[in-house]
């Protein structure tokens, strides 16, 4: 443990030194504004921050001065006029050129999205966009890693039946037992919990692994998967559909004919309305809670790092140098807090899903 602690400290210290050096060499010549390159005239903090937390058609790794090092991702489009198209996003050259009648719109309502253009450059339509973007690639990578980990644990659990667990099983099995004993059984009851245990375990591990991988800024990890509202929407929809389709008669009776005084149900069905909307708001809040927590964490980290560049622009490289220790320390602190938040958010999402499943299948007492 001491060795690992020393190694971790050395790595963090080297990263810190690297960041300080980078900020120090960031000269305020960017303020001239006469370059027509990829850089903006001066540091545009808003654009920088939003770029770092949103989706993109390429996986950006580093930028050395003027050269961007990024991995182009495949773009899959279906257009009603010209059919299916599959190509790499490097054809767009970071949004500067059109390819086969498609381009990335740089302004207007469709900014940042792929649109169909004619030869004059005017937008004539929008194709059906099924591209592998950074979020999709990140989700696929964590899915592959999850499958590898969990299948290995399953295999070793079968092999060491009756003996002490070994290897990765030691790490994952307590978590699985935790989900079963502290989340599934208290919320759903001993009789029905096995039916829902696979989906609860899947939700817990998917959210936890994607949250944690979003914090590691090294390729191939580091895509902001759970900070994307489409991803959390799908997770909440899974909970919603399972709750709705496994609701027994008692569940529907509680929604449309609850045990309340008669004047709340007739002539104006107040309580049924409230319960019916509650059916939709509960998964909606699940979606927004996970999305907002993860997005806020990434946003704060990016804002603290961009503080260095803002100060560098305002006060010259000395300002950037002075603010770097504060900035880096805050970023590291927020990252550690975000690890805790990742665990808590995975736990809360799974717990609330289990509660909704339990409410849907409760027996009439």
């Amino acid at each position: 443990m001491n060795q690992a602690g020393k190694l971790l400290f050395l790595c963090l210290f080297l990263i810190f030194c690297g960041m300080v050096l980078h900020a120090a060499t960031q000269s305020p010549e960017n303020v001239t504004g006469t370059e027509t390159g990829h850089e903006a005239a001066s540091f545009d903090a808003g654009k920088y921050v939003v770029e770092h937390v949103s989706d993109a058609h390429e996986w950006h790794i580093v930028t050395f001065g003027k050269t961007h090092v990024s991995i182009p991702l495949p773009i899959l489009l279906y257009s009603k006029t010209s059919g299916l198209h599959l190509f790499l996003s490097s054809r767009f050259q970071h949004g500067h050129s059109a390819y086969k009648g498609f381009a990335i719109a740089t302004e207007g309502q469709e900014e940042g999205k792929i649109v169909e253009v004619n030869d004059a450059g005017e937008i004539i339509g929008k194709p059906f966009d099924l591209s592998i973007t950074k979020t999709v690639a990140g989700a696929l990578i964590s899915a592959v890693i999850l499958v590898l980990i969990l299948l290995a644990v399953a295999r070793s659990a079968v092999k060491s039946r009756g003996k002490a667990p070994s290897g990765l099983q030691n790490l994952i099995e307590p978590v699985i037992l935790f989900v079963r004993d502290e989340i599934a059984i208290p919320a759903i009851g001993k009789k029905n919990h096995e039916r829902f245990l696979p989906i609860l375990l899947s939700l817990f591990f998917i959210i936890l692994i994607n949250n944690l991988f979003g914090l590691i800024p090294v390729f191939p990890l580091g895509a902001n998967v759970t900070g994307n509202i489409s991803v959390t929407l799908v997770l909440a929809l899974i909970t919603f559909f399972i709750t709705t389709f496994s609701g027994n008669k008692h569940y529907w009776k509680e929604i449309f004919n609850p045990d309340v005084p008669w004047w709340m149900k007739f002539p104006v069905p107040l309580m049924p309305f409230v319960e019916f909307f509650g059916m939709f708001t509960k998964p909606f809040v699940l979606m927004v809670r996970l999305f907002a927590n993860m997005m806020a964490g990434h946003l704060i980290i990016t804002v603290f790092v961009s503080l260095i560049f803002i100060f560098g622009n305002l006060f010259g490289s000395a300002g950037g140098l002075l603010i770097s220790p504060v900035s880096v320390l805050f970023s590291v602190f927020i990252m550690i807090l975000d690890i805790l938040v990742s665990f808590i958010q995975a736990y809360v999402f799974t717990l609330l899903s289990a509660l909704y499943f339990g409410m849907a299948t409760v027996e009439h007492h």
Partner: protein, 85 residues
Amino acid sequence: MTTLFVLLAEVALASFGAAIGAGMATIGAAMGIGRIGQSAMEAIARQPESSGDIRSTMIISAALIEGVAFFAVITCILVIFLGEN
């Protein structure tokens, strides 16, 4: 005086409202979670052996309240990006 107010309305009323709203949401969340922490600490002081149960309940309640606060923040962000034409 009225022209001054009309000018103010033209300028950035949506952003102004959104920023104030986000601040108020923070106040509400901080007060709520502060109360949870207070009662959790008092309960643990009364009965130290139930500190594990109390700790997990406190974390769950704090996460749920934070969810509502983030809901308000998301609404404010939407107002900034979609308000003012």
